[in-house]
């Protein structure tokens, strides 16, 4: 780790001001990505702004058809929330299978979505459920938020405050974990929502994306059987020592079927 100034602001305004004032400042949420990066000296922020004491970023609430989750909500809290489990069970199951207990006890939804790791789980839920990302400046629709490999619509210094998820008719998530890291090698989130069937795929490509072929097949009938023979093109998918693009493309259909089955 290199030297940096450490701050623990007590309000959203104070946190935003610190990030605005220092161009090379970094927000620290659960630290599960940022701290390893710092330890390996792959980043050298001038200031680290710890979000753990910012009250505006916390809490889970369900009202009517909307689940609201603060950015500084740990994976374990989403996984264990009875309200989330009732409203969107697929979301709590997703959270329960991120990393390992140590990661879930510190990692947060805001950190995960802001980071937009191409193999992270949450982005698929945010995109498939057509969630809205609320920042300290504006609201951003999920379809406009993810810009590929670690890129998002967030401006420098802009903070995610919370997410609002419309409650779907039904939804399911199936993940093929990378055997080593247990991030998603392919994760497919399927949702039947007010605006139709939405299917988001993580792990397979350079960033989370909607699988149009799967969506089209499920729009006809929301059943695993309707995905028989559906092929997703492998062009542009990731290829590495854990899995070729062709294998990943194949897994997208397999995992989509399992996600549909899980959605019930």
């Amino acid at each position: 780790m290199y030297q940096f100034e450490f701050h623990r602001p007590k309000s959203l305004a104070e946190a935003a001001a610190l990030l605005e004032a220092n161009e090379d400042a970094k927000a620290l949420s659960g630290g599960q990505t940022l701290l390893p990066t710092l330890k390996q000296r792959l980043a050298s922020p001038s200031d680290v702004v710890d979000l753990s004491a910012v009250p505006e970023l916390k809490g889970i609430s369900v009202s009517g058809d909307t689940v609201t989750i603060g950015a500084f909500t740990r994976h374990v809290d989403v996984a264990k929330s009875a309200e989330v489990a009732k409203a969107i069970p697929a979301l709590s199951q997703l959270a329960a299978h991120i990393g390992d207990p140590a990661v879930r006890n510190r990692g947060t939804i805001g950190g995960s979505v802001a980071n937009n790791d191409p193999a992270a789980d949450y982005p698929s839920a945010v995109l498939a459920l057509n969630a809205t990302i609320h920042t300290n400046k504006r609201t951003i629709a999920a379809d406009d938020f993810f810009k590929g490999l670690f890129e998002t619509a967030l401006d420098a210094g802009e903070l995610i405050v919370k997410f609002t998820f419309p409650v779907p008719k039904r939804a399911g998530y199936a993940k093929f974990p990378n055997p080593a890291s247990r991030y998603a090698m392919v994760g497919v989130f399927v949702a039947e929502t007010a605006s139709g069937v939405r299917v988001a795929v993580t792990g397979a490509g350079p960033g989370v994306f909607r699988a149009k072929e799967i969506e089209a097949a499920l729009a006809g009938s929301f059943s695993a059987a309707s995905l028989d023979g559906v092929k997703v093109p492998s062009a542009g998918m990731n290829s590495d020592m854990h899995g070729s693009a062709e294998y990943r493309a194949h897994l997208v259909t397999v995992m989509a079927k399992r996600a549909v089955a899980a959605a019930g």
């Binding site: 093929f176 080593a180 890291s181 020592m241 854990h242 899995g243 294998y247």
Partner: protein, 790 residues
């Protein structure tokens, strides 16, 4: 009391209390007054010439004590790292031993090679300063692939090893005879096998602290070593040129080694050298990334293996041609692992009358390869047991039946194999039968059908392994190139109040010696187990030792302890006879009590011990004190054997392999602590499963970058990758050591890869290479189904 804690009792491990309550004391827990920290600048290139190395700016950074380079090492006449086993090739010439500098001189030869070391007040300062070192490299084309290394136009890793060849070695039946048998045989099977490269990854990374006492001119090296006395010998006699009595090596609690901590590495050498040079203790602790790049890796063979059989499936001959990777430099025992620890085991449990094995060892621009749990024997078992199963498929004979047709029968021991070694004892068919029962082999077809109904492919696979442990008769290993003898030593000292110190030259780094060895002594001397203290891991407390590897600790170290116990008992007899006014010849000894035969007179060992130190009423002429030393040099290796049966279920949609059942029946001879033995079996299976399904060090074949440089990409086995194991045991005692024990530490890792890969082959009908990743399995299934459709 001794009835419940002696030989054969599942005594809870004495050491666990300190380990699980965080009171263990590992090398990184040791901090000496005035200590400075070492940070190694490492090569980012697989192969490069160092054009320029400028440390001036780094030396001026805050907190820096010194920046040392290969030139400083040379100036101080510090020698290079050594390979302690001289391997003679086919034509009698010794292996090529290119220089292995402690810090690189003009070339770097693998990613992670040491370029310079910064020693500073804090680790962070040392790291900061390392970034200020200016290095100009001229990158060279590396050679990574084993076959490529042997091609005529391949880049040359060392000028001293033309063609990248370290040695070309053979063993066994003359090749021409084996070839003739193959030509005439009714059946032949052949396999191309890859034994994947593994990164050991013990929980505790390597670490060292060097300390120098100017007043006494003595050095101390705290180190995560599996064999502190051998480390002392190598550091003193071969590298640093200091007298052995001036260096104390302490290997305190060590958190796993699996072979990777046997060797003498650059980093502890630098800590000791720099501590003396700078007059300050110097500490280094590897981080995980460094461990991936610099701990000696394991395995890494490619092999063509062939088996010839007669019309009835009797094995006639085996022909094995292997290329083994040495990496960029020779590690301490690298040459012996793919030769004597491999070729000598290729007869397996079978009567195959002819075996020929040829091994070419090559240099590549990768991390050094050396012994890793099993060391050569897992590779041998993998060759033999994959071949046998391929033969069973070829002949359409049940694989258990084919093995029985070819086993060395129980009345054939001692059994001379065609590859030098003579097995001491065994009952292989008996062990296989036990395993078949425990695995419910008869019920397998029903389980397979049930799985098929669920859309899953179920397969079963065997591995009947043999290993040579208890290393080793010194004269034998000396005749084949070893640089050290392989005896073990023990000292037993009674205190006046009846408690006992047991010094052993074995080293425990997870094996539970403090319990097992205490059980032997408690059993033999009749001392309560909590009165027995096993001392190990300190060259100043334990006079001599050869350390722990090759499942040798109980068979060799335990035998030395038994010998020392016998000497104690003999001396005690004289004291007891005097106390009871009886003749020594009339005395009987049992479980800590001396009795006069045929009378009710008796004296306990505790009273004898007290008398030895308070010799008021004492045999005239006898020395006071009760303390004995013993060395034990085994007369043969021990040959543990066993059968593992893996049963897998494969999801054809994803290619994921799930282990449904695992049966292990091992013959370790007599067992001192069955709980510890079972734990060793569990851990060994986990590592073997890791090799077969999950692990594999991958280098980029062009750049030589280690692609699996962290746990994000290198997949270690986890608890949920494994089923509960069915563990059984048979006991054919070792006839040539006093405990009748054979060794159990490596068996699981030796047996399991072949069993698992055979099960996968059975399920999918195709041979694939380790690790059997889901994609490989899925592709094999796809290829099969399209072949069937066509």
């Amino acid at each position: 009391m001794t009835a419940h804690t002696g030989i054969g009792a599942a005594v809870r491990r004495k050491e666990d209390f300190r380990f699980i309550t965080g009171a263990g004391r590992y090398t990184d827990d040791i901090n000496r007054p005035g200590q400075a920290h070492a940070y190694f600048l490492r090569s980012p290139h697989a192969f490069a010439r160092i054009k320029k190395l400028d440390t001036a700016a780094a030396a001026k950074m805050p907190g820096v004590v010194a920046v040392l380079t290969g030139a400083d090492v040379q100036a101080d006449k510090v020698g290079g790292l050594i390979c302690g086993w001289v391997l003679k090739g086919k034509s009698g010439e010794p292996h090529k031993a290119p220089p292995h500098p402690v810090i690189a001189l003009d070339h770097v030869r693998h990613v992670g090679d040491q370029v310079a070391v910064v020693i500073a007040d804090t680790l962070a300062q040392a790291r900061d300063a390392a970034e200020a070192i200016v290095v100009e490299y001229e990158p060279l084309t590396p050679v990574i692939d084993l076959r490529r290394a042997l091609e005529a136009d391949a880049p040359q890793v060392h000028p001293e090893a033309p063609g990248n060849l370290c040695y070309d070695w053979e063993i066994g039946t003359p090749k021409s005879e084996v070839d003739a048998t193959f030509a005439a045989a009714a059946h032949r099977v052949s396999l191309d096998l890859v034994n994947n490269r593994l990164v050991p990854n013990p929980m505790e990374p390597r670490a060292a602290v060097g300390e120098y006492d100017r007043g006494t001119d003595e050095l101390v090296c705290y180190s995560t070593s599996q064999n502190p006395h051998v480390l002392r010998l190598i550091l003193c006699a071969f590298i640093l040129g200091i007298p052995e009595h001036k260096l104390r090596v302490i290997a305190p609690d060590v958190g796993g080694g699996f072979g990777s901590k046997i060797f003498c590495y650059a980093e502890e050498t630098v800590c000791v050298w720099a501590a003396r040079k700078l007059g300050r203790p110097v500490k280094w602790t590897s981080d995980r990334s460094e461990a991936f790049m610099t701990d000696a890796h394991g395995r890494d063979h490619i092999t063509k293996a062939e088996l010839a059989m007669d019309a009835n499936g009797k094995f006639l001959a085996m022909r094995v041609d292997t290329i083994a990777n040495m990496g960029a430099y020779l590690s301490t025992f690298a040459t012996a692992v793919p030769t004597y620890l491999y070729g000598l085991l290729l007869a397996g449990q079978y009567t195959t009358p002819q075996v020929h094995c040829n091994v070419r060892a090559v240099f590549t621009n990768t991390t050094a390869v050396d012994a890793y749990r099993g060391a050569g024997r897992p590779e041998a078992t993998y060759v033999v047991e994959r071949l046998v199963e391929a033969a069973a498929r070829h002949l359409k004979v049940d694989p258990a039946e084919l093995r029985k047709r070819n086993f060395v029968p129980p009345d054939a021991f001692p059994y001379q194999t065609p590859v030098v070694v003579a097995y001491d004892s065994g009952n292989y068919a008996n062990t296989l039968d036990e395993a078949l029962k425990l695995a419910d082999y008869a019920g397998f077809p029903a389980r397979k059908a049930e799985a098929a109904a669920r859309g899953k492919k179920r397969g079963i696979g065997f591995s009947a392994y043999i290993e040579a442990c208890g290393l080793a008769p010194s004269a034998v290993v000396g005749s084949i190139g070893a640089g050290v003898g392989q005896w073990e030593s023990a000292q037993i000292r009674f205190n006046a109040t009846g408690s006992v110190f047991v010094n052993t030259g074995s080293h425990s780094h997870g094996q539970g010696h403090e319990t097992t060895f205490a059980q032997i002594v408690s059993d033999r001397l009749g001392v309560p187990i909590d009165q027995v203290e096993v001392v190990h891991g300190d060259t100043n407390r334990v006079p001599m030792g050869m350390g722990t590897y090759g499942s040798r600790s109980l068979a060799v170290g335990g035998s030395a302890i038994m010998k020392a116990c016998d000497k104690i008992i003999e001396k005690g007899k004289k004291i007891a006879a005097h106390l009871m006014e009886a003749s020594v010849d009339d005395l009987e000894y049992e479980h800590g009590i001396y009795k006069v035969a045929g009378t009710d007179k008796s004296v306990p060992m505790a009273q004898v011990a007290f008398t030895a130190y308070v010799p008021f009423n004492y045999p005239p002429g006898l020395e006071p004190g009760l303390e004995e030393s013993a060395f034990y040099d085994p007369s043969n290796f021990t040959y543990p054997s066993g059968v593992h049966i893996a049963e897998v279920e494969i999801d054809p949609d994803t290619g994921i392999t799930t282990i449904a059942n695992w049966t292990a029946v091992d013959d370790f001879g007599n067992v001192v602590n069955p709980m510890i033995v079972e734990g060793q079996v569990h851990g060994g299976i986990a590592q073997g499963v890791g090799q077969a399904l999950l692990e594999g060090a991958v280098y980029d074949k062009d750049s030589g970058q280690l692609l699996t440089g962290s746990f994000m990409d290198y997949c270690m086995p986890r608890a949920d990758d494994l089923p509960s194991f069915n563990v059984g045991m048979t006991h054919t005692p070792c006839p040539h050591n006093p405990l009748g024990v054979k060794g159990c530490g490596e068996a699981g890792a030796i047996a399991s890869p072949a069993a698992l890969m055979n099960a996968i082959t059975d399920a999918i009908g195709t041979e694939i290479q380790m690790p059997a990743t889901p994609e490989k399995v899925w592709r094999a299934i796809q290829a099969n189904s399209s072949a069937q459709a066509a």
